[in-house]
């Protein structure tokens, strides 16, 4: 057995705290170590060459590299072995940067720890076994969850590459948050104008199948072979028959009596409705929570909508929820975001006073297609003094520490819209820091300031208070004179979708501490998740503006299309193996495996592993009462040897 040990200085990242030369000398004393070297950057080409040369000349059996986290460069070095004709699993990585040099100051101690870690790795390396990566074929279809701008973009791009896409949206129409916006910063394009053509494209694309008013019920399987159950909620309208004429909504007994969620409940709709006129698909949906027929079983003496629909006969109150199962190779998650509920910060007076609204409510008010047809009015009056408060629920340790990234600019935009529509209005913006980092942002901010909008800096530590003052409210901010305002607009934070947790479990992906879905690497794999074959786009991953969301969606689409195009993928070689001589057929493992990777062989009365299904977690191995199950690459010999090395 010949083991090569390579220690990376990582510039000074490692070398500053770990005495690399000393470690090299120490490694030489370890059993089976044939060569031990250090280099400035092991991951660089010359570094890799060093290893390759030794593999060739010294005929190394195993390679140990002590450098950064295996989550960074394990694939890099495995590729080195592979290139030299070695099995890539003969490689062992020691994390002496993230878990040693960066977290310890004392050079002696860090050096000692690095030695222990390397001793453990060398001991373990002796027992490493060659593994073959398993190749599985890929179902050439993709699933996109979420029909907002990110989802639409991703779906269109994958479809354009020639693969079939299922686009699933929980609302009756695709379009998402962007559809609710009036104009977009900083270019002031009309949001609907640029979005609706895309919506239509998506609906029309021969490779895209829309599942609106639908939700993901479950996801099983693995990259290349996901089995997805989609729950189609009953619309009570046959979308084949509905032509979107709207006669039913006009006829509805509750016509214009139900708050329309799309208009942030400022506008009203019927119990049978489309969320907005440009909805895609333009098909009506019965609101089961309000429809008299569905709620009480009785709508006067007969249902007026059915009557209005007449011969088309599109309304069907007997529709039931349907589960559709689809199989896809990859999944793009674009589930979007929710908005912070300012009720949680009572000092802003939201819901207490009509004069206090959120940014998105303002969008609906200012929108030409909104409930006020674009007239900015509050209780029927045009406001003359408008206050914008930023960072409501963002950059605030009590609610969300992060910056929501879009509020500064949309507030500027909204201020501009007010100025545009009510030129004599006084505008004050309370800001924390104005973050105008995007293309054209700073210019826009300057323009708005030039338009006479007053920016007042607020300190987050001194909460702004909004109090009643007759028909108006008074905004009190420390360090500034009080302002009597007709309208207060709160820039509420972008927060993770309410059901993110549940959803991340369905998909078996992670959330970061803030609750957004977690990318595989913040820098290098920003659209991947830790589950192979599942990718992220848009605000489900973190707050973003439209261009960023679209860019990420394009990225996710490319990532998701790669396996589809390749037609096959390699899946984790780490899987369970069963020693048939030891297995007693107790089937404990069958019980606990989430992936159904273990099957009972009726003939031999023992368990068998399905390599491809197995994800290599190892729960079965530690539960196996007879020790019949071992985990490839994490087997008992390897682990016990590593323990021995770590505490020698």
């Amino acid at each position: 057995m010949k083991i090569g040990v390579y220690i990376c200085q990582c510039g000074i990242n490692i070398a500053a705290t770990v005495d690399v030369e000393k470690v090299v000398e120490y490694a030489k004393t370890l059993q089976n170590v044939a060569v031990s070297r250090f280099y400035k950057y092991m991951c660089s080409d010359p570094g890799q060459e060093l290893i390759k040369k030794d593999i060739k000349e010294l005929k190394l059996d195993r390679v140990v590299v002590a450098s950064c986290s295996p989550r960074m460069h394990e694939p890099t070095f495995r590729a080195v072995l592979e290139e030299m004709g070695m099995n890539p699993y003969y490689f062992e990585m020691v994390n002496i940067r993230e878990q040693c040099s960066w977290v310890h100051i004392d050079k002696d101690k860090a050096t000692a720890k690095a030695m222990y870690m390397i001793a453990g790795a060398v001991a373990r390396a002796t027992y490493l076994e060659p593994l073959e990566k398993k190749e599985v074929s890929v179902i050439p279809r993709a699933l996109v969850v979420g029909g907002g701008i990110s989802g639409i973009q991703a779906a269109l791009e994958i479809a354009e590459k020639g693969f079939q896409v299922y686009l699933v949206e929980r609302n009756p129409s695709i379009g998402g948050r962007m559809a609710q916006l009036d104009k977009t910063f900083p270019t002031l394009d009309c949001s609907a104008c640029i979005l609706t053509p895309k919506m239509v494209d998506a609906a029309r694309h021969p490779n895209i199948e829309l599942f609106t008013y639908s939700e993901i019920e479950s996801v099983d399987g693995y990259i290349g072979n996901f089995k997805v159950k989609i729950k189609k909620k009953p619309r009570y309208v046959d979308i084949e028959k509905c032509v979107g004429c709207g006669a039913c909504a006009e006829a509805c007994r509750l016509h214009a009596r139900i708050p329309n969620e799309f208009d942030m409940s400022i506008g009203k709709r019927s119990a049978i409705y489309v969320p907005f006129p440009q909805a895609v698909p333009l098909k009506y949906t019965v609101d089961p929570n309000n429809c008299l027929t569905l709620k009480t079983g009785k709508c006067g003496d007969h249902a007026l909508c059915v009557e209005a629909c007449g011969e088309r006969d599109a309304i069907n109150f007997n529709q039931k929820e349907k589960i559709v199962e689809v199989e896809v190779g990859t999944i793009v998650v674009a589930t979007g975001y929710d908005l912070f509920d300012p009720v949680e910060k009572p000092e802003y007076g939201y819901e207490k006073f009509d004069n206090v609204i959120t940014g998105l409510e303002f969008e609906r008010i200012v929108s030409a297609s909104g409930p006020t047809e674009g007239h900015i009015e509050i209780n029927g009056k045009e406001p003359k003094k408008v206050v914008f408060i930023q960072c409501v629920g963002s950059r605030d340790k009590e609610s969300n520490e992060y910056c929501s990234r879009v509020c500064c600019m949309y507030t500027a935009k909204q201020a501009h819209m007010v100025k545009d529509k009510i030129p004599d209005a006084d505008l004050i913006v309370y800001y924390t820091d104005v973050r105008a980092f995007g293309k054209g942002f700073e210019e826009f901010y300057n323009r708005v300031q030039d338009e006479g909008v007053i920016y007042r800096r607020r300190e987050l530590d001194d909460p702004i208070e909004v109090k009643k003052n007759g028909n108006k409210v008074v905004v009190k901010a420390k360090g500034h004179p009080d302002v009597d305002a007709d309208l207060v607009v709160l820039a509420t934070a972008i927060i993770p979708k309410k059901d993110s947790k549940e959803f991340s479990r369905i998909l078996n992906i992670n959330q970061s501490a803030d609750g957004f879905l977690l990318e595989a690497h913040p820098k290098l794999r920003p659209v991947d998740t830790f589950t192979d074959g599942i990718f992220l786009a848009g605000c489900c991953q973190s707050p973003k503006d439209i261009p960023d969301a679209v860019a990420q969606a394009s990225g996710a689409a490319v990532r998701a299309s790669e396996p589809l195009a390749a037609g096959k993928v390699f899946v984790e070689a780490i899987s369970a193996v069963i020693d048939e001589d030891l297995c007693s057929g107790c089937r404990v493992c069958e019980e606990l495996c989430v992936y159904s990777a273990l099957e009972f062989d009726e003939k031999d009365k023992i368990m068998k592993v399905n390599d491809v299904m197995c994800k290599g977690c190892g729960s079965c191995a530690s539960a196996c009462p007879t020790g019949a199950i071992t985990m490839r690459h994490y087997d008992v010999k390897q682990i016990l040897a590593q323990i021995g090395g770590l505490i020698r």
Partner: protein, 142 residues
């Protein structure tokens, strides 16, 4: 002066959460004691109680098992299963006179670099206080 006792602690860290959390502590340069040496496993569910007992035999003064928070397991339930195993094992160890502070379990997510560092600090201090694990350490004298 007698040198301060530096405990040897073995950490079994799950690849997806705790190991990533430890990495994050690194990228965030959060300092913690160097006594814990990590073994990367795919899931805390991989940690067979025998590994723990073996580590103590081989001379570890303590063992820390790090997994994902309940519900966050990359493999859905590995951490739940580990939790049961460790609950039973810890009680058994305590009953035989092994201080329960020597075998610890923690939930550390990929975003909890700070928590990871704090946990390591706490565990190290606890075990430092307990002194070397001598109960059934292998003597290897032959």
């Amino acid at each position: 002066m007698k040198e301060k006792f530096e405990p040897n602690i073995i950490g079994f860290l799950c690849n997806w959460c705790s190991y990533a959390g430890a990495d994050l502590a690194g990228t965030s340069r959060i300092q913690y004691p160097p006594n814990l040496k990590a073994i990367r496993v795919m899931c805390s569910g991989r940690v067979n109680p025998i590994f723990v007992i073996n580590a103590l035999q081989q001379g570890a003064d303590g063992v820390l098992i790090g997994g994902c928070h309940p519900g966050d397991c990359h493999y859905e339930r590995g951490n739940y299963l580990a939790r049961r195993r460790m609950a039973v094992l810890k009680k058994l160890l305590e009953y035989t006179g092994i201080d329960p502070r020597r075998v610890r379990m923690t939930w550390v997510s990929a975003s909890e670099g700070k928590k990871f560092a704090e946990v390591v600090k706490e565990v190290t201090e606890d075990i430092r206080e307990l002194g070397p694990m001598q109960h059934f350490r292998r003597e290897n004298k032959w």
